[in-house]
Amino acid sequence: MVAFVIRRLIQSLLVMFFVALVAFTMFRFVGDPVHQMVGIETSMEEREALRERLGLRDPLIVQFARFVGNAAIGDFGLSYQHKRPVAEMLLERLPATLELSLVSAVFALAVGLPMGVYTGLHRHGVLSKFFLTISLIGISLPTFLIGILLIYLFSVQLGVLPSFGRGSVVDLGGWRTNFLTVDGWKALIMPSITLGLFQLTLIMRLVRSEMLEVLRTDYIKFARARGLADRAINFGHALKNTMVPVITITGLQLGSIIAFAIITETVFQWPGMGQMFLLAVQNVDIPIMASYLILIAFFFVVINLIVDILYYVVDPRLRVDTATANGHG
């Protein structure tokens, strides 16, 4: 187990290294940074001095090493546009995105999983067919359209939910949260549904097909033959066996939720990292783009690591290398 985690950590570091490489090349190939930072009236001498000061004359390797070293301690440089440390700006925006993503993921899982189990168990039920039809909409409608439809219905027509922004937030030592005010929760509802709907349908369909698969297996038949209660069979034996693929997909989807919050944040003017990233793209603010890239990669890597460790917890067969040593019969 420990060896496995260490191996995984090394792989994760490797992934992060390559992402950093890609992020770094952005600085080199997307325009001249000095050009972006100074005004038209800056003289050539001043430009060269700035170039020197920023270390842009050093060999590439040295620059890359410096970039990685700084990134490792959380220093992502200054935003070209705002002239503020990028790390500081990201940290300001991080809570909004993370809270939105978390609520979306919980929503997707809390609704998708039971719906999947239900449609798996009652394959021919009317309600199952209804869920499946609805889920097609969730899969095929683009996110921004769902968002706009929600705004039209609940903000414009009914006027019950705010159409943009985070509502009132409470500052908890730098972490500004939506969770402590009614207003904040109300502001979360529509963006979370918009962001989580696709994941919800995905999870529901996945759980359903896995349930159907597992319910056909011999050990489920044998469990029935042993006279176990339906509850124990469906939720103990069957559901647990569907968990490995569900954990994988849910984990990866959590990463996607964070990454693809960009669109939802734009639709709802949600002051998160995604919105900031889009603005940065418009202004060719490379430090922000590069840092965002690295941060998202970091989230993916961490989530993957957690998913891999969860496999171990769920499936004893993966613990095989440590276990068979003492008991083959």
Partner: protein, 348 residues
């Protein structure tokens, strides 16, 4: 006569399909006494597994019992509500399935699966159930049960897993076990061990067994009586020695001729020409009539019911008092059939 442990009366199992209803088990009746081992043999698709599944009420939908009755100790169980039937499964009728290797849930330790089953059917505390589990594992011959109890199915070999499955089927002392091809998936050397174990445990506990298999060797070794199934019906049922040594139905006779035996002087194995009809086109009259060397007019028109002949019962018109040539003649005719005659019959 005392009430038999299990009585099946005129059981019919049907499958509605798009092209009409298939009858997988067609009007069969048999019984199993307390502590008795009834072998059920037949080719694939003869309806033997289906019969077993119908008895414990676990037919795969859309299959269903379309007629007849199943009685356990005189009480009808085929029409019980699901929840009541569930309480009977495992507790009064245990089951061992076709592939023991996949019968255990890979995510739970064998101990947990045993404890779970015991606690479902009894009031034992977790500690008692665990103690009983270790006792059971010892009984089925698993070495170091105290350690093995917390291991997972993948840590057991096929034979050992099969022993666990047997422990699971026997854990609350059911009166009857339905063993559906319990050894088919195992190595030949392990098969004998498992059959011996099953036989010993059932004798010790007085458990009756309905042993479904296509392996006549296993039947000869284990069963008290045997039912031979063909195309959803019982062709012949009787004491195992009688059926093997003195087969009365032409199909049974052919079946016995097709078993290789060490030291047997036959130059080649006999085979029954043709194959069992599909459920969609079972011929009129006796289902075996197109392959039967002794076929006569009546076989092509009417379905024979089981006719008592000596200790067995046979569904063959040869043994009918009115239309047959007389029992002795019929027996002699069937017994003298050889592969060549069978071949001729098929060619005609």
């Amino acid at each position: 006569m005392a009430t038999p442990l299990l009585e099946v009366r005129n059981l019919v199992v049907q499958f509605p399909t798009r092209r009409g209803t298939l009858t997988a088990v067609d009007d069969i009746s048999f019984h199993i006494d307390e502590g008795e081992v009834l072998g059920v043999v037949g080719e694939s698709g003869a309806g033997k597994s289906m019969t077993g599944a119908a008895v414990i009420g676990l037919l795969e939908p859309p299959g269903r019992i379309a007629g007849g009755q199943v009685l356990l100790q005189g009480r009808r169980i085929d029409n019980l509500p699901y929840e009541q039937m569930r309480r009977i499964r495992g507790k009064e009728i245990g089951a061992i399935f076709q592939d023991p290797l996949t019968s255990l849930n890979p995510l739970y330790s064998v101990g947990r699966q045993l404890v779970e089953t015991i606690q479902t059917h009894t009031d034992m505390s977790p500690t008692q159930a665990r103690a009983r589990t270790i006792e059971l594992l010892t009984e089925v011959g698993i070495p170091a049960p105290e350690r093995r109890v917390d291991q997972y199915p993948h840590q057991f070999s096929g034979g050992m897993r099969q022993r666990v499955v047997i422990a699971l089927a026997l854990c609350v002392n059911p009166r009857l076990i339905i063993a559906d091809e319990p050894t088919t998936a195992l190595d030949v050397s392990i098969q004998a061990q498992i059959i011996a174990l099953l036989k010993r445990l059932c004798r010790e506990h007085g458990t009756a067994v309905m042993l479904v298999t296509h392996d006549m060797g296993v039947i000869a070794e284990t069963a008290d009586r045997v039912a031979v199934m063909y195309a959803g019906r019982i062709a012949e049922i009787g004491p195992v020695r009688e059926v093997i040594k003195n087969a009365k139905h032409p199909y049974t006779h052919g079946l016995m001729g097709s078993i290789p035996a060490v030291g047997h002087d036959a130059e080649r194995l006999e085979q029954i020409p043709g194959s069992m009809p599909r459920l969609t086109d079972i011929p009129q009259g006796c289902a075996f009539n197109p392959r039967c060397p002794h076929v006569f007019d009546r076989c092509r028109q009417d379905r024979p019911d089981l006719i008592p002949v000596e200790d067995s019962r046979v569904s063959c018109w040869l043994y009918d008092r009115a239309s047959g040539p007389g029992i002795e003649v019929a027996k002699a005719r069937v017994a003298s059939t050889h592969a060549d005659d069978l071949q001729e019959a098929a060619d005609v």
